[in-house]
């Protein structure tokens, strides 16, 4: 009896010890279970967000808009007859001026914008204004060096048409077609102004998209995250714009004050000003998990929440101008398409690479960018960065952002070692797309730029970074930790800091593993000897 009692007591004591050890673990487990699961039920934190969907004015009621118009400028006059002074607002914006102040490395401030910048798509507007100003919010901007300040030339309709039928003609200085017109193989049609004017309202996606979807000469060529598919899209493609989610328009985020629209495009912009930020509505601590909120210090929201872009249609990733000018044996222009139907070669433009569902590149950015300015010397043996971002790990204002890195080869002056803007478009004897002579195109283009052309050209590798801000994924598809916190993760190239999970000291790891192996070996040898000697 007594021994039974004693062994029972012993058992109870051991059980008590076991329970005492187990309790903290069970509590810890419950805590973790409660904090890590069910996150999908956490409501999204929003501040300062309101959508005003009620139309304030019905433009179809205005008599002045019901008359017959001979020219689009007459329409603008009609608009300004009520919205007088609005012309001043519009003409103060970069949408009108196509330029913003830019401080060069030497401290000089210049006006920099579409009218004088270089990119690695269609290269530059100089000498190609007739085509390029198809995307200007004015009518008939022919000479970008001359004054352009007649308010009747403001194209109000392109942004405010809600009928969907208004369209500027392709390649006619931003004017809509008066009659049936084919330029560069693209047809433009006249349309019923009365129908357009009855629909006037707040800009919608298709208004912005008319230009911003098709930059670079086709849908989704430039951005990769802005394209026609966004007009009617789903939550899966873009949580904000999805018809089955928030269904927000562009100006819900790109808030507009006196026609000045918030937002920067760093292919042109350079200053950390007037930017749209996710934090405006989502705050800097939008996550339930505090560790994730710590990330917002130095990681842009887009980095994790836009795992990939070009989710519906492919985007152009590479453009090699040096291969342009090849013809079919029959003398016709050569065109090649890939299996998905995207153009991979065109006699006029050279070779392309298109990609879909692209993972972005990642760079540091403090919101400031620098650009190649016409006349800057280049090193043709290296890739020329036509734009690049400032920022690094030690700069506390820098965040890691996702970008679309667009590379290519384009023409440069091989003697003067600077970039060339060639004359591409025009019914004349020097335009490349008609004459296919780089020398002539370079000469005309550089004459417009105002820089000497040596007569010798070459092709240099170039690169541009386009920040990716759209096509925000549903939260369940945002990046998991290991996408970056792993040996060959997405941030493998951003190496100026220690990233847990990615970085390690090789010497230490080797030493450590050897230490462990030696311990094990020692134990095994010692144990074996003990057993044998026994």
């Amino acid at each position: 009896m007594l021994t039974v009692k004693k062994s029972q007591q012993k058992f109870i004591k051991l059980l008590a010890l076991f329970i005492a050890i187990a309790i903290p673990w069970v509590l810890g487990g419950i805590y973790i279970y409660n904090t890590t699961t069910h996150t999908e039920h956490v409501p999204i934190k929003l501040v300062n967000y309101e959508v005003d969907t009620v139309a304030k004015v019905d433009h179809s009621k205005f008599k002045i808009l019901q008359q017959d118009f001979d020219s689009p400028q007459q329409i603008t006059e009609a608009c300004l007859s009520c919205h007088n002074k609005t012309d001043q607002e519009v003409m103060a914006t970069s949408h009108w001026k196509w330029a913003k102040p830019y401080i060069k490395d030497n401290g000089d401030t210049i006006m920099l914008g579409k009218k004088n910048i270089v990119n690695n798509f269609c290269i530059g507007t100089k000498s190609n204004e007739k085509l390029c100003s198809s995307c200007h919010i004015g009518y008939g901007w022919k000479d970008m060096n001359a004054k352009f300040d007649d308010s009747r030339n403001i194209d109000c309709i392109v942004c405010h048409d809600q009928s969907g039928i208004y369209k500027k003609a392709t390649g006619d200085y931003g004017l809509p077609a008066k009659e049936e017109l084919v330029i560069c193989g693209i047809a433009s049609h006249p349309f019923d102004y009365k129908k357009v004017l009855r629909s006037i309202g707040k800009p919608q996606r298709h208004n912005c998209g008319a230009c911003h979807y098709v930059g670079g000469g086709g849908n989704n060529v430039k951005h990769g995250d802005l394209e026609m598919a966004l007009n009617k899209t789903s939550r899966k493609v873009d949580v904000h714009m999805g018809m089955n989610s928030a269904n927000m328009g562009c100006i819900e985020c790109h808030k507009t004050k006196r026609h000045d629209i918030k937002g920067n495009l760093y292919s042109i912009a350079s200053a950390n000003k007037n930017r749209v930020s996710c934090e405006e509505c989502h705050t800097e601590a939008p996550h339930k998990n505090p560790i994730l909120n710590e990330h917002t210090d130095r990681i842009a929201c887009q980095t994790c929440h836009i795992p990939e872009f070009a989710k519906v249609n492919p985007t152009k990733m590479y453009w090699d101008w040096s291969t342009a000018g090849k013809f079919n044996p029959d003398g016709s222009m050569m065109m090649k398409k890939d299996s998905a139907g995207a153009m991979t070669y065109h006699t006029k433009k050279g070779s392309f690479i298109w990609k879909k569902n692209v993972k972005p590149e990642y760079i540091w950015s403090n919101g400031e960018a620098r650009h190649y300015i016409m006349g800057d010397k280049i090193d043709p043996t290296k890739t020329v960065h036509l734009n690049y971002f400032l920022g690094n790990y030690t700069d506390k204002n820098s965040k890691i952002i996702p970008v679309k890195r667009f590379t290519g080869k384009q023409i440069y002056d091989a003697k003067n070692n600077y970039m060339i803007i060639p004359h591409l478009f025009g019914k004349d004897t020097t335009s490349y797309w008609l004459n296919f002579d780089w020398n002539k195109a370079a000469k005309t283009g550089m004459a417009e730029v105002g820089l000497p052309y040596s007569g010798k050209f070459g092709f240099v590798s170039t690169q541009m970074d386009w920040p990716v801000n759209h096509m925000v994924a549903p939260r369940e598809e945002s990046l998991t930790c290991t996408e970056c916190h792993s040996r060959n993760g997405r941030l493998a190239k951003v190496t100026d800091f220690y990233l847990p999970g990615r970085d390690y000291n090789n010497l230490l790891d080797v030493t450590g593993v050897i230490m462990i192996l030696l311990s094990l070996l020692g134990v095994i040898i010692h144990a074996t000897l003990r057993i044998i000697k026994k």
């Binding site: 890590t36 847990p500 450590g512 134990v523």
Partner: protein, 443 residues
């Protein structure tokens, strides 16, 4: 000597096993954070690692508290004694079946290697891990004000600590198998009980301590100035004092009447000079004003070869003394003669009545002489016989004996005799004599 001993207490085992689990858990999640493998995912690894880190910190705080409160921290004091022997035991001795060079006892749980390694863990590896870990946890980004070293330095140190701990765990787990049986050490860490050596010295100290605490003998200790440092319960009882604080910190003068104080002063001076006093009867003054008698022993207390005070015991003799006094009084005043002999038959004591009967004038004339003195040569044999009987343990009463007085005359008396015991040893004989000469004469 070996004995099944309760060596690891409850909290110690709770702490040990939870720390072990946490270290395994931290290593598992930590190396996932390090990128060594992908099992539970980086996010879970980080979250769990952080929570476990907090848990370990709490556990360590409790453990530090426990070590100080129980005094167990002393187990980790490093020693070089036997360290060579311990190393050579693990390298060679263990294979030859040699005995452990050091003995595990409850007062010395760890061998010198263990002491060194565990102390290194507690003072170096774990603090480094905790400190670098919490810098890692709160470092966040370089705009944090705590940004000093750069995360990579912190991470490298932290990782190195992890490797060190892992190597320790391997060796530690293996070395647990080197006990009496391969599993005895692990079993001990689970149940708390292990068959280990008894530290006889410590054991004795403990028993002595207990004996002093619970003894009926009063114990006291004084410093050089005569201030009482400590007394036990028996001492307090003898002095009829209920509050130890009334005694401790006071000068010993409170324990004596003025007239008896000088005697004690002398004693204290002697002992502080290095003498040892073994049992002197003294009179104490109790705290209720009464007096009592006790036997006092005192010996100097040494520290590093220097006398720093004195201590000793007191044994109450008030009752015995009283009894003795009555007896002495009775014997002294009785008409019966009293005598006492030592084991050799030498007279040690006699009373006045005895001297009268034998017609001696003073005790000095008889004390120190053999009992032959009291008999005619023809009668000595009889007494010799009685003496032998008593020394063998018998008690004699009513024997008629013929004495020889100082002047050579004789007389008759009835003699009683009984042995004197000290402990269970007979050390002499004593008894009474009643004169019957006159009676005889009358008869």
């Amino acid at each position: 000597m070996k004995k099944k001993t309760y060596i690891y207490r409850g909290f110690e085992r709770f702490w040990h096993w939870n720390q072990a689990l946490l270290i395994f858990f931290l290593a598992f999640t930590g190396f996932e954070v390090h990128g060594a493998y992908h099992i539970i995912g980086f996010q879970h690894a980080v979250q769990l690692h952080n929570i476990a880190a907090w848990a370990l910190l709490v556990l360590i705080v409790f453990a530090i508290f426990w070590h100080f409160v129980t005094g167990e921290w002393k187990q980790y004091i490093p020693t070089t004694k036997f360290i060579k022997e311990q190393i050579s035991y693990y390298i060679t001795g263990i294979f030859k079946g040699a005995p452990h060079p050091t003995h595990k006892t409850i007062y010395n749980k760890f061998n010198p290697l263990q002491r060194l390694i565990y102390l290194g863990l507690k003072l170096l590896v774990l603090p480094v891990q905790v400190i670098t870990g919490f810098i890692y946890l709160f470092y966040v980004y370089p705009n944090n004000p705590g940004h000093v070293f750069g995360l990579s330095t912190i991470a490298v140190i932290h990782t190195f600590g992890a490797f060190t701990l892992l190597a320790f765990v391997i060796a530690h787990v293996y070395l647990t198998t080197t006990g009496d049986t391969p599993l005895s050490s692990i079993k001990a860490m689970i149940t708390g009980w292990e068959v280990i050596d008894i530290d006889e010295k410590e054991e004795r100290m403990q028993n002595l301590q207990k004996a002093v605490d619970e003894s009926v003998a009063g114990y006291y200790r004084l410093d050089l100035n005569g201030t009482i440092l400590d007394v036990n319960d028996a001492w307090l009882e003898m002095y009829k004092c209920k509050d130890r604080s009334k005694v401790v910190g006071k000068h010993y003068a409170v324990t004596r009447d003025k007239k008896n104080l000088t005697e004690l002063d002398d004693l204290v001076a002697k002992v502080l000079n290095g003498e040892i006093i073994t049992g002197i009867p003294v009179t104490r003054k109790c705290f209720d004003g009464s007096t009592g008698k006790h036997l006092l022993s005192a010996n100097p207390v040494f520290e590093d070869g220097e006398i720093v005070g004195l201590g000793g015991f007191i044994l109450d003799i008030s009752e015995a003394e009283k009894l003795n006094e009555h007896m002495t009084f009775a014997v002294r005043n009785s008409g019966a003669g009293y005598y006492r002999l030592d084991e050799n038959g030498v007279i040690v004591d006699v009373n006045e009545a005895w001297l009268k009967l034998y017609k001696f004038d003073s005790k000095d004339e008889v004390i120190g002489h053999h009992f032959e003195l009291t008999r005619k040569p023809s009668e000595v044999g009889k007494l010799e016989e009685s003496f032998k009987k008593v020394m063998a343990g018998e008690t004699i009463s009513g024997v008629i004996a013929e004495r020889r007085c100082k002047d050579g005359s004789t007389g008759k008396h009835i003699l009683s005799a009984n042995p004197i015991y000290i402990g269970n040893k007979i050390v002499g004989m004593e008894g009474f004599i009643l004169d019957i000469t006159k009676l005889n004469d009358t008869n």
